[in-house]
Amino acid sequence: MKSISELDAAALLQREAALLDMQRWDDWLDLYEEDCLFWVPSWRDDHALIDNPRAEVSFLYLRGKTALAERVRRVVQGKSITTHPLPRTSHQVSLPIWLEDDRLPESGAWHSQWVSHQYDPRTSEQKMLFGRYRHAFSQRSDTWKIREKVVTLINDRIATVLDFYSV
């Protein structure tokens, strides 16, 4: 069920990256389905991610858009010291490719590579996170929404903080 075109999938991924980097949080939220999944699994082993978020630890397991909205509210309200200041970010996302996978409901998913550079304007510290995305999309009237975003975080020793905007 690879119904979104490569061009539309690529445009949506670039849009998501740009909106995160521009801190246009509400527009970013609008990219997601109401019953979306945003998941950053942890690593069980050197080369195996956890695969059962009900029995194993995830970095982030956000089910539904309200869970994403909680994250956004925390960033916008500024009551968390973690958000003073937020890092400046720059997400680089590759072109997505469709890879067949019989274990997934749609028999496949859109895969891409990402790098997120972060810069703390107060300390001048830089960090870089990188990994892979797996996306699933749904069509709502004439637009495509993100139904699932599963983030593989390759460099998983977290420096101080990790949040939705860092990956």
Binding site: S42, D46, V57, R73, D156, R157, T160, V161, D163
Partner: protein, 443 residues
């Protein structure tokens, strides 16, 4: 990054200004900054005494292994073919290469990747490659070639401890009355405690003692974690989990016990756990507990086993963290979702979500603490500003009864203590850790 080394001739003296008779308790800023203090901490504290190294359930099957570090030294824990647990330096006897690089696994034989010397899961040498052709002298032949065991390795309930220094008290004597609070953790898990799979490790640019303080510090909660509390207030109440932390008249009591050797617990009598959740948990463990344990299992508790282990039981979920200092201003934290074996899948899932929300470096509480440590580290760099005033809350005991109202039910005879309203924010529970620290540094 503010990491310029402070290079005066010797560490500031005294690092600890502890004069109970004058009502003074102060820690010098250089305790957090000075690389020579850090070096002494590594040698005399982390590599000089008992430290937590793992859970017994990590070595539940024959040939299970776990690697870790004590101070700067690599360690290999193994269960042999009979399930007997051992702790060894993770270093090949030949040229000292790291024998087992994997974090955990199951292996009958560990083969060094350099010249293929091999060891079994009891640490015995199984093979020295081309030994016959090696023209070894009889002196070598007569030597033991097995892995070097750690001088001390012991288990208390679910918890494994080891010491590189042989000259330490028995583990139970080291733990002292803090063992009652380890008992309470284990009593909640009749089938044993386990770490849920999934590695979470993070760093903060701050001194490890900031973490020691923070976990016993109730004073910071309503200030640093306000965004988490407000978020919980906005969420629909989850009957099977709970709501926001109790406030006002419902907030209950807070108190602490200090056990000597740096161990302490900070407790509060109310948690955010719902009655449904408490009833569910009690159903599983009540038969295995005393009445006092049953009562205290519903209290929130932050326990520090000095120097490297902290457990937080928020009742809704439990976490265990291992503190691994890397530099005066850099600390690595290994954090685990601690759970009783044999829990239902529904309980397990609810526990995980609560754990991730609060304790993860991607959660709503821990990152705020981490950022606070980093700003503290930077601010403590103001050596010229002199002593801080952060160890004084709770020192006036004139309103306290002569005896702690709870020590009898807990079976405590020697522990120092305080008790008060949740807003007390006791800081005297840090004192014992610093007294222990100063005593160990003095050598």
């Amino acid at each position: 990054m503010n990491s310029s080394p402070r290079t005066s001739a010797a560490p500031a003296q005294p690092l600890l200004d502890d004069r109970p008779e004058d009502g003074v308790f102060r820690v010098h800023r250089s305790a957090f900054l000075d690389p020579r203090v850090f070096e002494m901490e590594q040698t005399r504290i982390f590599e000089g005494g008992w430290v937590f190294v793992g859970l017994a359930s990590q070595l539940s099957k024959p040939h299970d292994f776990v690697t870790t570090t004590i101070g700067r030294q690599p360690i290999l824990l193994m269960a042999d073919e009979h399930g007997h647990m051992g702790a060894f330096f993770n270093s090949c006897r030949h040229r000292g290469m790291l024998l087992q690089p994997a974090p955990h696994g199951n292996r009958r034989v560990h083969v060094c990747r350099y010249h293929s010397w091999a060891y079994d899961s009891a640490g015995l040498n199984q093979h020295i490659s081309e030994r016959e052709q090696g023209r070894y002298l009889p002196g070598f032949q007569a030597e033991d070639h097995g892995l070097v065991p750690l001088p001390r390795f012991a288990r208390y309930r679910d918890f494994l401890f080891a010491s590189i220094n042989p000259d330490v008290p028995e583990l139970e004597d080291y733990l002292g009355e803090a063992s009652h609070f380890l008992d309470l953790m284990s009593a909640q898990a009749p089938q044993g405690l386990e770490f849920l799979p999934g590695k979470v490790t993070y760093t903060f640019r701050g001194n490890w003692k900031l973490q020691i303080e923070n976990a016993l510090d109730m004073y910071h909660f309503s200030h640093v974690h306000v965004s988490y509390v407000e978020l919980l207030k906005k969420r629909p109440l989850l009957p099977e989990m709970g709501g926001p932390p109790p406030t006002g008249a419902a907030e209950g009591e807070q108190g602490s016990f200090s056990f000597g050797n740096g161990h302490a617990v900070m407790w509060r009598s109310r948690s955010r756990a719902s009655e449904t959740l408490l009833a569910q948990r009690r159903e599983r463990f009540a038969p295995h507990m005393s009445d006092a344990q049953l009562k205290w299992s519903g209290y929130g508790r932050n326990l520090t086993i000095f120097p490297n282990m902290q457990m937080v039981d928020n009742v809704t979920s439990m976490m265990l963290r291992v503190i691994h200092p890397l530099a005066p201003d850099l600390t690595e934290m290994r954090t685990y979702c601690l759970a009783p074996l044999g829990e239902s899948p529904e309980e397990r899932e609810a526990r995980l979500r609560d754990y991730e929300d609060f304790f993860n470096p991607s959660g709503f509480a821990t990152p705020d603490d981490n950022v606070v440590y980093e700003h503290s580290q930077d601010g403590l760099g103001a050596i010229g500003a002199g002593w801080t005033q952060g160890y004084a809350r709770g020192m006036d005991r004139s309103d306290l009864p002569a005896r702690n109202p709870y020590q009898d039910e807990l079976g405590l005879n020697e522990a120092a203590w305080t008790v008060g309203p949740r807003s007390l924010g006791d800081e005297t529970c840090f004192h014992d850790a610093y007294r222990t620290w100063a005593r160990l540094l003095a050598g």
